[in-house]
Symmetry: C2
Subunit: 405 residues, 2 copies
């Protein structure tokens, strides 16, 4: 008898009919001879509705009270799913994060899980029940309700799978797996049978919104077998695996495009020790995440520094850097929001040279200009003009022959 | 410094604007130099909305899961009210029934409170916070969420006031107190300054929907000073007091009309020992509450028995009694839904005779026929035709001079 953790997102439980569908799927899994723990998110739109209520009362509501408020969304889903499973003739029990004992730190609205007690779940599984756990939520040591922030229900599912030593953690979503590229851009993009944790991490942080990075990191750290599947059909999903499971590694696993970033350039900075440190300390102080950083070769004692940030942070970064520009007598700040970051990801490039030059050649042949480059062991990213992003993805997908197995 | 428990019902917190109004009231009470514990119900309509969701999934949802579901309603209210109080510059913390430690029995959807731990509330009050507690809910010993059934938030408020030894428990509602009669029927009905627990109990169970009986019983048992006030204006409400507080007792406190009952008559029953017992055992087995019971004087070894039940129970009672009628060879069952129960209530009638005859005379003078009578130490009820109920209330209100202090 295998123990399977299944996670269903907000779209999958968006209305009573969909909840019944999820219930059927859960019951099928149970009747196939498995123990099942289910993690659910709030019904689609519910969390936003609650946050809007809060905003009508306060522009800046307390994080503790926000967590108290929005955690009701998942509590509603678990109760309804339990009723739906009962209706299909199987026993089931719903549990809040607090009832399971999902202990987190104190950071309301983006808490981190510290510890999970498996006892209550194991006891209910032993009674032949489906155990349904509210995703996205936990409690801190004062018994205050906390929430885990974006992608929190995925993290809950993976964490439960880890403590329960589950045989599989299945993440059900509205796409049916991880593709070599976004199928809306590349119609012949291929669904991957498997992908390594590291590749998935790069794909996730590069704009493939299938799984949140945090849950993948967690799965990697605690060795949780993970897969991504569609809740709307029964097709096999994508397995996220340890590198060692893969017999023969293709060079490139996929291509992604990310248009959420802007490029900020400080021109004509004095090339002195400590200037870059000063700059990025300041940025970190305001909790702004920096992605790529490039420093030009120095000329006549001056240099330029470019970096990318999320477009939402542009107004903040402009006001922060205005003073600094004066202080270090940089010539100007230049912000370009018309950019896209195109990446090729693949664990195989560790052992294959020539990936970067092939990527640059493919883009050059298509007349696409590269303005920034950054590389890691398993990915290469290029910043190009936003309007050329889709063409670039197509060109790279074809050039690296990702449509072929 | 006084400790005041305030309870606001669903209409009082029906939307963000009303929640802000409640917050203002709470903050005013605090700034008058009091410690304040607030109990709130779910936003008006929210509980029904959740129950309808459940009914879309299951005709007969599990009580445990129903409690899990509907208890979110109060959790939403407490979080929003905390935000509103913060917005007005006072510190506040919201707590669920579980977080307070409101321990109940296992009877989901109509649990009874067994124990409440005052520690957490006292600790937060000592930190100068307004403590906001979700009404209507608790947990059982397995940590399952339970709800207290109809009027549960009133019960929560009175119970908290009892364990905290509060100086006053104020129940805010959409009427501004207890009246000598329903002001919609009797325009010159007078708001009572005070009423005894016993009278309030009779009034509550007789159709004056201001306070649920359970909370009044609780207040009486634990000696909690209680008052009913409007959340929409600042007028003084009605105090519910121990008998001994009242210096001079008026004979009659109020007149009520209840049109929710039907009269069931079994005609021509054999007048033998055990027949009535058989009848009412059967009715009790199906959880049907009986109110008034009358047995006619026996003639020729046969008698008639009449009793009143809630109109909702009429279909059930008909099917239950069909068999019995045959078994005991009664002549027929007669159901009359066209009735109203008119009552006069007052602790003073203990020491004043003639109340009953005055009541019957007043009704007779108005040409109103009485078909059943029942009395207790502090009330007299008459069943009349439903269409004559309003007239009866007016006649009795005037005849007993209830418009005068």
């Amino acid at each position: 008898m295998a123990l399977i953790v299944q996670k269903y997102g907000g779209t999958s439980v968006g209305d009573p009919e969909r909840i019944m569908n999820v219930a059927k799927r859960v019951v099928d899994t149970k009747r196939d001879g498995n123990q099942v723990v289910v993690v659910v998110s709030a019904m689609g739109g519910q969390t936003d509705k609650l946050i809007n209520l809060a905003k009508e009362i306060s522009k800046n509501p307390s994080d503790r009270e926000l967590d108290m408020l929005v955690s009701t969304g998942e509590q509603i889903s678990v109760a309804l799913l339990a009723m739906a499973i009962h209706e299909l003739g199987e026993d089931a029990i719903s549990l809040t994060g607090a009832q399971v004992g999902i202990m987190t730190d104190d950071v309301h609205t983006k808490a981190r899980i510290l510890d999970i007690k498996p006892d209550k779940m194991q006891e209910q599984l032993a009674l032949n029940k489906v155990v349904i756990v509210a995703g996205f939520q936990g409690i801190n040591i004062q018994q205050d309700i906390t929430t885990l922030g974006r992608g929190g229900s995925d993290t809950t599912a993976v964490a439960l799978a880890a403590v329960l030593k589950a045989d599989m953690c299945e993440i059900y979503t509205d796409v049916d797996g991880v593709y070599t590229a976004d199928p809306r851009i590349v119609p012949n993009a291929r669904k991957l049978k498997e992908i390594t944790h590291e590749e998935m991490l790069e794909m996730a942080s590069l704009g493939a919104k299938v799984l949140m990075s945090r849950s993948v990191e967690f799965a990697n750290k605690y060795n949780v077998p993970l897969c991504v599947r569609s809740s709307f059909n029964r097709s096999e999903g994508t397995y996220i695996v340890k590198e060692t499971n893969v017999m023969e590694q293709p060079v490139i696993r996929g291509v992604t495009a990310d248009t959420s970033e802007a490029k900020v350039t400080l021109l004509h900075l004095p090339d002195q020790p400590g200037i870059a440190a000063k700059l990025f300390n300041l940025v970190a102080k305001y909790n702004i995440n920096i992605d790529m950083i490039i420093q030009n070769v120095s000329e006549h004692g001056y240099t330029d520094i470019s970096f990318t940030v999320n477009k939402n942070d542009v107004p903040k970064i402009k006001s922060i850097l205005a003073d600094l520009t004066q202080e270090v007598s940089a010539r100007a700040i230049n912000v370009n929001e018309d950019i896209a970051k195109i990446s090729v990801v693949g664990i195989g490039m560790r052992s294959h040279s020539g990936v970067a030059s092939k990527m640059f050649n493919l883009l050059a042949q298509a007349g696409i200009n590269i303005s920034m480059i950054s590389t890691s062991e398993i990915k290469i990213s290029c910043v190009i003009r936003e309007g050329e992003a889709k063409q670039a993805v197509k060109v790279l997908h074809e050039g690296f022959e990702l449509d072929k197995e």
